[in-house]
Symmetry: C3
Subunit: 164 residues, 3 copies
């Protein structure tokens, strides 16, 4: 794993992160799920977990994937094994923050919002929360070594079918 971060140039780093998150969201919103695991290292940590559990130190996560293979399983579930009605999810990211940038990795936090639209229904807020990510550089490309999606609503969304 080579290293290509230039923390000395804050504007360039921020721009590269903006691009990473825009590409990530574009991939999911356009339902190109097969490309989704490529945003991660292998192994990796992808977790969706309620905020209350994080605050209370409870480990129980709604989703937990520890390799690209796990992520791929999720995609297979979406495409083949899950039974669910059609829906559109649209994601937004804001307030991307670099907590720490070393030569080998960046620790990032950002807010996400996801909206759900069911057929013949109005769009509604589906989930808002925080990304807590570790980004590393693999062959010059930014990848998520860790992506923790912490959602605010204590209710586990009843239809968490697509990734966040």
């Amino acid at each position: 794993m080579s290293v290509a971060f230039a923390p000395s140039n804050a504007a360039a780093l921020r721009s590269a992160l903006d691009e990473l998150y825009a590409n990530y969201i574009g991939c999911l919103d356009e339902e190109r799920f097969e490309e989704w695991p490529e945003f991660f290292t292998d192994p990796c940590l992808y977790k969706i977990i309620p905020r209350i559990n994080v605050e209370r130190g409870l480990p129980l996560a709604t989703w937990l994937c520890e390799s690209r293979g796990y992520l791929h399983d999720r995609v297979v579930a979406i495409r083949k094994t899950s039974v669910y009605g059609p829906r559109y999810i649209r994601r937004f990211v804001s307030a991307i923050r670099v907590l720490r940038a070393s030569e080998s990795e960046i620790e990032v936090r950002a807010n996400y919002a996801a909206y759900e639209t069911l057929p013949d229904e109005l769009t509604r807020v589906f989930s808002v929360g925080q990304y807590r990510d570790r980004v590393v550089s693999v062959d010059g490309q930014m990848k998520f070594a860790e992506k923790i999606c912490i959602f605010d609503s204590e209710l586990v969304p009843n239809s968490l079918i697509y990734p966040l």
Copy 2:
């Protein structure tokens, strides 16, 4: 039409696009509609269309304007001929992506969200969707040669009075 894009400098291009979309949204949110056509080339293509139509290859659009004159007609409708109750619309853009940047134009996708506030009511989600835009440089200024607003909700919003 001169050309002023520097695709080699991704950070500068991203920053210029951020500025373009912020100015566009600022113009609409502050209801400076008379300035809105100036964001476009002439001729241009401005379209608001449901996602289901795009996915099924159906051409029917909710709005279709093919020149600044058409856009101006919309403004006249807003100011003079349309009958509608007062409301505020507030727009958000996220995940701006450059799909392709040549010397003469940029293809951009981004997510938008629009919120509506009626008098004595709480703010609600009005529409979320995707912009699919072609941006060109005219006399050193970025303009939309094409702006397609694809909204997720299959319901045609019953009060699409202001542009997206």
Copy 3:
């Protein structure tokens, strides 16, 4: 108060503003309220006011703080004196625009959205509106000399406990 803006470099300025707003939102969303007054100069102007009042020239504001001391009082109210149920607020910022950048200050407008999540409830839109800010440089750090939060809903939110 020293001055460190480089309006000639639009991309660097935009990046620094992105960082400022991301840090501001991160501070509030993570409920590190004690750090919140540090984002402001002293004296300062922090105001939360309905849009209708701004448009009608009415001065009445929902919140008005004119120094770090006032801001600190708000924090004390949140931590000690206010009585309210637990809730999460999550904020988003979009369309950050530089209206004017002189050597001594920047005038900025941006859109904000805030979502509220109560225990055992789904997330809902809490407030959307516009920031109208004056940013100055103090010892090389950007600070808010003025931050006006103009919210769209004519209804005063019934639970404006945390800052926007």
